[in-house]
Every structure is written in C-alpha cells, then in structure tokens.
C-alpha cells in the first residue's frame, strides 16, 4: 500500500505516538490500567501497522526477525530470573520482598521488572507471528481488496 499517500502520511505521524503510548502503558502500569501484556500488544500493533503500510520486506529490515527471536525468550527469562533472584536472596520464588532491603521497594522493583519481561515477550511474539503469516503471502494488490 506504498502509494496510498493519505494512509502513509497518517500512519507515519501515528506510529511514534502508538509506540510512545505502549511505553506509557508498560511503565505506568503500576499507577493506571495496563501492564506488560497490553503494552506488548500495543507496540506489536504499531509494528504491524508499519508493515501493512510500508511493506513486509521493509518491516523485516527495521524489526529484524533474528533480533525478535532473541527478545521473545529473553522476556520469559527476565521474569524467571527475578524469581531466582528472590530465591537466592533468601525468599520464596517470585517473592519480591527479598529483592532489596525495603519490602515495598522490592515489590515495586520486582513488579516493574517482570512486567517489562512480559511486554518484551508479548511484543516480540506477536510481531513474529504476524511476520510468519505475512511471509506466506505476496504483498496484496489493491485490486484484491
């Protein structure tokens, strides 16, 4: 859909704000609705919009599948490692109280870290699934719609 001027211009303006909103939902999840999962899908939606407008090949160059393939397990590992960190510091698995000296601060650090892990995995997996689907079809011609 590269030659659709209106779509291209509008999405060019929108995509940075969608990603910014995703980051807001990610890191403000303690204070307002949202969290890692929501942030991940919002960021993935922005990437998918980019791929729809500017073509799959260009999206693959910007958001490299090889990098996403690292991010997807990395998110799960961050989550799991926070659990092990709590275990190593003397608490139960995923008991964030033990992460630092202050229980409440430990909870804050633990929550924001695991939410970041969730967001990373969700964004990477959703984008990878989309790219896998989109890789099966050639770019869609306008007549097809």
């Amino acid at each position: 859909m590269r030659h659709h001027l209106v779509l291209r211009v509008v999405s060019k303006i929108l995509i940075p704000f969608i990603i910014l909103y995703g980051l807001y939902v990610q890191f403000h999840g303690d204070f307002s609705p949202g969290g890692g999962f929501q942030a991940g899908v919002i960021v993935a939606a922005a990437i998918i919009l980019y791929a729809l407008i500017f073509g799959i090949e260009r999206a693959r160059q910007v958001f490299k599948p090889e990098v996403l393939l690292v991010f997807a397990p990395l998110g799960v590992m961050i989550f799991a490692l926070v659990g092990y960190a709590a275990l190593a510091l003397g608490g139960n698995y995923l008991d964030y109280d033990w992460l630092v000296a202050n229980d409440t601060a430990g909870q804050h650090i633990g929550i924001i870290t695991v939410e970041f892990g969730v967001g990373l995995t969700v964004a990477a997996v959703m984008t990878l699934i989309f790219l896998a689907y989109a890789g099966r079809t050639r770019d869609i011609d306008d007549e097809d719609w």
Binding site: P33, Q38, L52, Y93, L94, V125, A134
Partner: protein, 188 residues
C-alpha cells in the same frame, strides 16, 4: 444512563453477530468480527475493566483481524454455500445456550460486595496492595506479585505459541520455493 449504554452496545453486538453468521463474504465477516471486538472493548470499559478492554481492542480488533486478513489472502473470499440444514448441531447449540443462561441465574449480581468470589482472599489482596505493595493499580499488584506464578506461566504460554507458529509457518515462501518443497500456486 449506564444501563442505556450497555443495552445499546449489547444490541450492537447481537446485530454484528447475526451479520457475521449470515454473510457469505469472508472479508466482510472478518471486518465485522473486528468491529465485534471493538464493541466488546467499549462494553468492558463501561464495566470498569479497562485492562481487559485494552487487550480486547489491541488483540481482538487489531492483531487477530490482521492475522485473519493474512489468512484470507491464502484462501477464497467466499464461504461455500451449504443448503442442507442439520438439526442435531442446532439442538446442541440451543441446549448449551439454554444451560449457560440458566447458570447465570445463580450468579451474584454485578458488583455485589457479598459475592463469594469477593469474600475469600480478595480483601487480603486489597489491604495488602494498600499496605505492603503500595501501588494504586490493584490489578497489576495481583497479576505481577500475588499471582506471579500464573503470569510467568502465561508468558511462557505466549512464548510457546510463538514457537509453535514459527515452527509451522516460519519458513518464508521464497525459501520454500528455492527448496522446491512448495507446490506451484493455484489461482483461486
């Protein structure tokens, strides 16, 4: 006012569902399904479940619609017309629906503070979020801290789903063609 909004949104959902059922054009059905998700998201906002509404809007209306469209490019645009009407599946659906509606009769009213689900451990979570965790969003506190195991499992499930899809579809068309494993394309 809230009741009116709920009735209107629920009516819209019903109309969209019937439209999806009756249309034979799969592109139309996909777009209507996206609209259905967006209406559900509005309904969830009205029920104060903003977190769920977020997810519904982004996944239901956004990503899954795009994935369905991607699937549509690989298949036909029209559903095969089936003339014969079969009674047994219809009766099963009707009976299941009736049972589900019957089940809701026993459910506590929406937002009832005396509901059993709110009596068990919820007061502890609410007090704990206020005193121990000290963040305003109880949903995040429950998801990430009190139910951290569940969320870790869910993240692993998403990761596994991604791995599964990539194993099935991860190879790109060009690579398949180079390997000669892909059959020549049929024009639908």
């Amino acid at each position: 006012m809230e009741l009116l909004i709920n009735v209107v949104l629920l009516g819209l959902l019903g109309i969209t569902a019937i439209a999806i059922l009756t249309t034979r054009h799969l592109f139309v059905a996909t777009m209507l399904a996206g609209g259905y998700s967006l209406t559900s998201a509005a309904l969830l906002v009205n029920l104060d479940a903003v977190d769920v509404a977020f997810t519904e809007a982004a996944v239901g209306a956004g990503i899954s619609t795009v994935l369905m469209l991607g699937t549509l490019t690989l298949t036909r645009r029209r559903e095969k017309v089936k003339k014969d009407f079969r009674w047994s599946p219809f009766l099963v659906v009707l009976a299941t629906g009736a049972l589900l509606v019957y089940g809701t009769v026993d459910m506590p009213a929406f937002g009832d503070p005396n509901a059993p689900a709110l009596q068990h451990i919820v007061p502890e979570y609410i007090a704990g979020t206020r005193d121990d965790i000290q963040i305003p969003n109880i949903v995040t506190a429950v998801l990430a801290s009190y139910r951290g195991y569940d969320t870790l499992g869910e993240t692993a499930v998403i990761f596994t789903a991604g791995v599964g899809v990539l194993l099935l579809l991860g190879r790109r068309r060009e690579e398949d063609e180079e390997a000669g494993t892909r059959r020549p394309e049929r024009d639908a």
